[in-house]
Symmetry: C2
Subunit: 485 residues, 2 copies
């Protein structure tokens, strides 16, 4: 296996060097070709993924569209110059000492290893955002294919490979492997020519890779997105005015896709003593039909993690998962007080699936304390009447301190693929809060700046040339412009 890995990575390194000769525009074109190949995949892709993941066909069809959009929109942002931002400071020959001409662009870090997630077999797996952003950055990619949807992964991998062949790129630009054991995956991360890792999945998996990568003789960056409980904070007026609406919308978000989203709102913080609300919440949960989860292992973990959490002291079960069918996940709810929640860190553990913990606060101070004590999150949500929000300035500050995205009067389960999206957050949501795994800015995880000083125009990369042949936005002597020099 070690020799195979070495060959694979060596090929990826050669491909990386050859990618280094491509312009932003050429890579954007390659990304469009890859999107075309994915678009051309027919029923086989959807049916295979449906069989492997139990995700509904409509959801998978939507996710396919999202995946294609990721490739195209990341490519477009790269080609526009709004992600890997070019800076030019022209020479000042009359200054003492003379200032040379300096220009900065970005190059790919090198071969990137991608570990996809099981819950998004298209958008966060083989052909997902990590692969798209790494190729945009100018990196070759080795995907560790996900065992839970191996055939889907192969169909997607083949589509990428076809596009790479058609476009005449080095064969090592993309590869996918299915190592049979954890050690082989770790060997990949340890290989000296591997220069970065993208991971989406559990805390245990993501943190282990982060540690391995940092203990290499040459440490490399690992972006692990490791999940989150995405607390929702309900303010008193909102609760008073719309208890049933809040309950129903919360349950809809909590149970979407059998709760198998990294942005699933697993904790709901509400004012104490809301009987109408609790009743509506339980009623709404009871109406959600249990559904097959991604695989039996996830369904088993769901029940086990839920049992661990609800076995904590002073946790009351509001609505229990009633299905006993194997592999199926049913909505479940538990209740506790702010005092209990604040005293027991175990209540912050993620239960991956449609399980919600309702935490009741008795006063604004407790609400603030919860915001201060929660771990780092991908998202936090505030449900409040516009007028009352003004009284909670400090709460908003503490909440923002703990998350990558804050939402008002909405629910976090939708993650838009746009430049303004930050899908990341303070540890343990992610291993580096400065980067996102969704949106064009995700490209920045895999690129590094290089300055060119006093380099003749003929030898500059296209993005730095005087004529601005790629038509990029560039920061020239402090002003952003698309003009030539």
């Amino acid at each position: 296996m070690r020799e195979e890995i070495n060959q694979l990575v060596t090929q990826a390194h050669e491909a990386y060097l050859s990618l280094r000769k491509t312009t932003f525009k050429q890579r954007a074109e390659l990304m469009n070709l890859i999107a075309d190949e994915i678009e051309a995949l027919g029923e086989e892709l959807i049916q295979t993924a449906h069989e492997e993941t139990h995700l509904p066909v409509a959801r998978l069809t939507g996710e396919k569209g999202r995946t294609i959009f990721q490739w195209r929109s990341y490519g477009a942002a790269l080609a526009a110059g709004t992600v890997l931002d070019v800076r030019i400071d022209t020479a000042l020959p009359e200054r003492t000492p003379a200032r040379p001409d300096i220009r900065k662009t970005y190059v790919g870090l090198g071969p990137v290893v991608v570990f996809g997630a099981s819950n998004f077999p298209f958008a966060f797996s083989t052909a997902g955002g990590d692969t798209a952003s790494a190729i945009a950055a100018g990196c070759s990619v080795i995907v560790k294919g996900h065992d839970a949807h191996k055939k889907t992964a192969q169909i997607m991998g083949d589509a990428i490979t076809r596009a790479i062949q058609k476009a005449g790129y080095h064969a090592g630009t993309f590869a996918q492997v299915f190592p049979t054991n954890r050690q082989a995956s770790q060997e990949l991360v340890k290989h000296p020519l591997v220069k970065a890792v993208g991971f989406t999945g559990s805390y245990a998996g993501g943190k282990a890779l982060f540690d391995i990568a940092n203990q290499r003789p040459e440490p490399i960056p690992v972006f692990s997105e490791m999940g989150s409980v995405n607390p929702v904070f309900v303010l008193p007026e909102k609760m008073k005015n719309s208890p049933v609406e809040v309950a129903q919308q919360y349950i809809a978000s909590l149970t979407l896709g059998v709760g198998q989203f990294c942005t699933n709102p697993g904790i709901l913080v509400v004012p104490a003593g809301q009987q109408d609300f609790q009743k509506a919440l339980v009623e709404a949960a009871a109406q959600v039909a249990p559904c097959k989860m991604l695989h039996e292992g996830i369904a088993a973990s769901y029940v086990q993690n839920m049992n661990t959490l609800t076995a904590q002291e002073n946790v009351e079960i509001l609505h229990s998962a009633s299905s006993t069918e194997k592999g199926v996940g049913a909505a479940a709810l538990a209740f506790t007080t702010a005092e209990t929640f604040l005293a027991n860190q175990a209540l912050q553990e993620e239960v991956f699936g449609p399980f919600g913990l309702v935490v009741a606060y008795s006063n604004p101070k407790q609400l603030e304390e919860i915001a201060q004590k929660i771990h780092g999150q991908l998202t936090c949500t505030v449900l409040g009447e516009e007028a009352e929000i003004a009284q909670y300035e400090d709460l908003i500050l503490y909440i923002t301190d703990k998350c990558g995205r804050i939402l008002f009067n909405g629910f976090p389960t939708g993650v838009e693929v746009v430049s303004s999206m930050h899908h990341g957050g303070p540890f343990p949501a992610c291993t580096d809060s400065r980067f996102t795994s969704v949106g064009p800015d995700s490209i920045r995880r895999f690129a590094r700046p290089v300055s060119y000083q006093n380099v003749p125009d003929a030898y500059l990369p296209a993005e730095l040339k005087n004529a601005n042949p790629l038509g990029l936005y560039r920061l020239v002597d402090g002003k952003i412009t698309q003009e030539a020099l």
Copy 2:
């Protein structure tokens, strides 16, 4: 000591929360006030630094100006919106499902601990780039003051404190400590409320902090800039046409500031068999008067590291450091072949001081091999005639793969403070090649993005409000504009 550290960090955390309520513009104003206070420091600063570091008054005067410029120009870039780039994607209510309004800005990571360098007592120390960029990002700062220029550090620290007081900022916004042992410094890095570290200095020091920070329960980013040998590659035509000029300019760069720059060009790669050149090189080195180094420890290490390197097999001394005066560093040169260099990693070790290793190559293949085998560097330089450079496309590619800045026909010792500057590079030059420690982009080390979804205009941070009250450049629906929405 532990209790003192805890108090210090707790204060810094409170100050950080209070900084979170400031706008980009307000922080830029604070930075200008700090620059004013430094500007107002008179002869005492320069004289104290001169006595403590032995750096010439003219050099220190220049460095003071550079330091002031850092504060002002980082503040200006922050205020312009060209560093912490704002993205807005407006709502698409008619889309199915409707797209919410999403806007992204940056917040500071939290309290930052800064470890300055001895070789730039102003620009890379207490009031240096790390402190300026962290405050720009919205972080409070605790500086571990440098023992080698303690009084200078105190004068600078007092200036920052005065500006903070005058502007009415929280007293914990800036603090400086002088721990008496390494353990206390490490305790600072381990404190849970500390969220990032900036370091400039030796590999051993920077890597140790990186490891400690990554082994915390909550890992935090450490940007350590750890030095470099900054190879200069001379192409054959250039050597043929101007051997004496190359020799003289190289020695001037090598011995500038007694070689005490992180961008000091410690390795010179030249075509074999250049007698005129070698003669000119030795002559130029002999003309450089030995000078006092920063402190006796550095001078002693200089001699020791040089001796270790020149004791390697097949290394010939071309010009030896002749001074025996304590604390003084004299220019020295050694010679080896490409074969020897390629076979012995010890020849890549940095010798901090005015020591140059000349490496002679016999053919272009060896030149490429050296470029492929050198470690990560802050800078690499190519000296070549414009016409011949075209034949070295692969060499340039390999070189760029190893450095943060590539220079043509210049020398790396000057580091301009501009947006286009990248002062960083692949490991072991730095712990994270994606960030710079010079130029406004250094602010990005200490800031993280936060997305605001569906947040009413009244509750958005100033930089995200419809009216664009700060007049920032913003990416709105894919176009960069300074207009209001």
